[in-house]
Amino acid sequence: MALDQIVDGLSEVSCDVLVIGGGTAGPMAALKAKLKNPKANVVLLEKANVKRSGAISMGMDGLNNAVIPGYATPEQYTKEITIANDGIVDQKAVYKYAQNCYKIVEELDSFGIRFLKNENGDYAVKKVHHIGSYVLPMPNGETVKKALYRQLRRARILISNRYMATRLLKSSDGRIAGAISVNTRTAEILVIRAKAVILCMGAAGRLGLPTSGYMFGTYENAANSGDGYAMAYHAGAALANLECYQINPLIKDYNGPACAYVAGPFGAFTANNEGSRFIECDYWSGQMMLEFYNELLSGKGPVFLQLKHLHPNTIEEIETTLHKVERPTRGLFQQGRGVDYRKESIEMHISEIGFCSGHSASGVFVDDNARTTVSGLYAAGDMASVPHNYMLGAFTNGAVAGIDAMEFADSHDFAEFDAADVAMERDRVLAPTKREDGIPPNQVEYKTRRLVNDYLQPPKVTRKYELGMRRLAEAREDMQERMIARNAHELLRALEVQSIMDCADMAAHASLYREESRWGLYHWRTDFPEKDNENWFCHTLLSKQNGKMTSEKRAVEPYVVPIADDEKDLYDKQRIRATA
């Protein structure tokens, strides 16, 4: 039978620990859960194919936040991330990551992933952050997914590819009971009962519309449509600091990193149209992005990544990395435009908005054991709230989640869910396939994301947000009443639009709640232009309460690593000042 033809079907399986998302955090979570209890069943569910899914589909050029003994300490790293996030950090989880990540580096090394070493055999750590050194290049970074996949096969993890999870199941007393998913090529429903569930579903990267107008030309892997955020929300879990958007400096139009983390340590820098530096540090922070944005609009834009001043051998080394790993089509793109890094600087622009704790601080709220606010539900990687955690954070916190979730599964029986919840979800999922006529998912998606750009992109203006929310509500009505899917593939897209719409609503709601400006460009509110520590030195938690989107404040946990008063604003001093 032809792929994509809709098949009527519903089946049910059960497992001890269900991991949803097979990108970076997910495989590590599944592996650690299985190693914790080899007799238990661990299922790894993936919307695409674990072999090539997620942000590291084509590998990664290096670790951006490795705390390597001799180069940095967990205390130093925790301090840097706290300052980079304007102080709004529960340090316990960051500190735990910083303590554990070196063990994970060694483990990845044992999987066959190599890290750059100097002539003495020590890790060759580079400095990109404002204060400390944490960047460690990976010479064979294109092999990461293959190395992970080998480990999954060896541990006999049960992998289910091409199933998109749509909603979580809970018992009447609020404990996690499993998840509902749909086959992306047949539309058959699969219910998975589980004692514990770990969400590793990546960023909400298809929220804003890229300026090229190509819907899938996003910074994040375009498969990362924010499904995890939407699922956590509908399950009643709290989401933290969603107003702290992700906005990144990228190669204009290509919309991938240029990448200053690779080229910066060799001497490349971000320059304006006069060829001058204007920011102190290329590390991606909201404060840096604000200076980037200001420069673009100042008349001194465009902004460039400049490496033409470097030695030809150095440029060649940078070029090899950029054109081989992470986004290898960068080479093809530059070739098409006739850009030679030896002669010309790389034109940069700022990305569309998204949610991603990999680079900012928004995500499903988790504690230092990767536990969400729902019993038995965990989250890790780009969608969980541990800030600036990048790939190594996804691995490290995925490991934490896997171990803790298996302990939870070992001490709990299956929770019972209501069969009516499954029936209701099945109806919701399949609704677009039951219509004879209507609006196709690509049009609903384009409109939703265009509205996100028009109304939600910073600077955030209250009046614009109010209008944007009205327009989004109209688009939502179309989505719920009129969207049509004529085959299983269109249904996949139709379900993704629903995640995107939920994320857009959450972004708007969270942004209006925090009545101050913080995190540079990420949450710049023109009606409240100042940082207001007296009233807003706190997290914001968004959740669904009695069916309604609600935001509340949550105090920042007492620091583990104290920050001196004269260190607190180090990241606010990003602009290079004229010297006399």
Binding site: L3, R162, P210, Y254
Partner: protein
């Protein structure tokens, strides 16, 4: 409202002479993160069925015969 189809020049191109999908190969279809490749009923060769490409490269990198080429989508070229 009736639907119309919309023309688009797709970024992923398959060389039919090299493609061995007719021998049962489905590697490119399997690995695509966006699930946009299919095997044609008419030619039994792989092709891009949906223009929803992240120009990420697994299809090209993993193809055993070098039949797949990823181009930059026209809108951002």
């Amino acid at each position: 409202m009736p639907l119309a189809s919309y023309q688009t020049s797709v970024p992923v191109v398959v060389d039919d002479a090299k493609c061995i999908a007719d021998k049962g190969c489905t590697v490119c279809v399997d690995v695509c993160p966006l699930d946009v490749l299919r095997i044609s009923d008419m030619t039994n060769k792989a092709y891009m069925a949906y223009d929803e490409c992240w120009y990420c490269m697994p299809c090209e990198a993993d193809c055993p015969t070098g039949a797949v080429t990823v181009n930059i989508p026209y809108l951002l070229r």
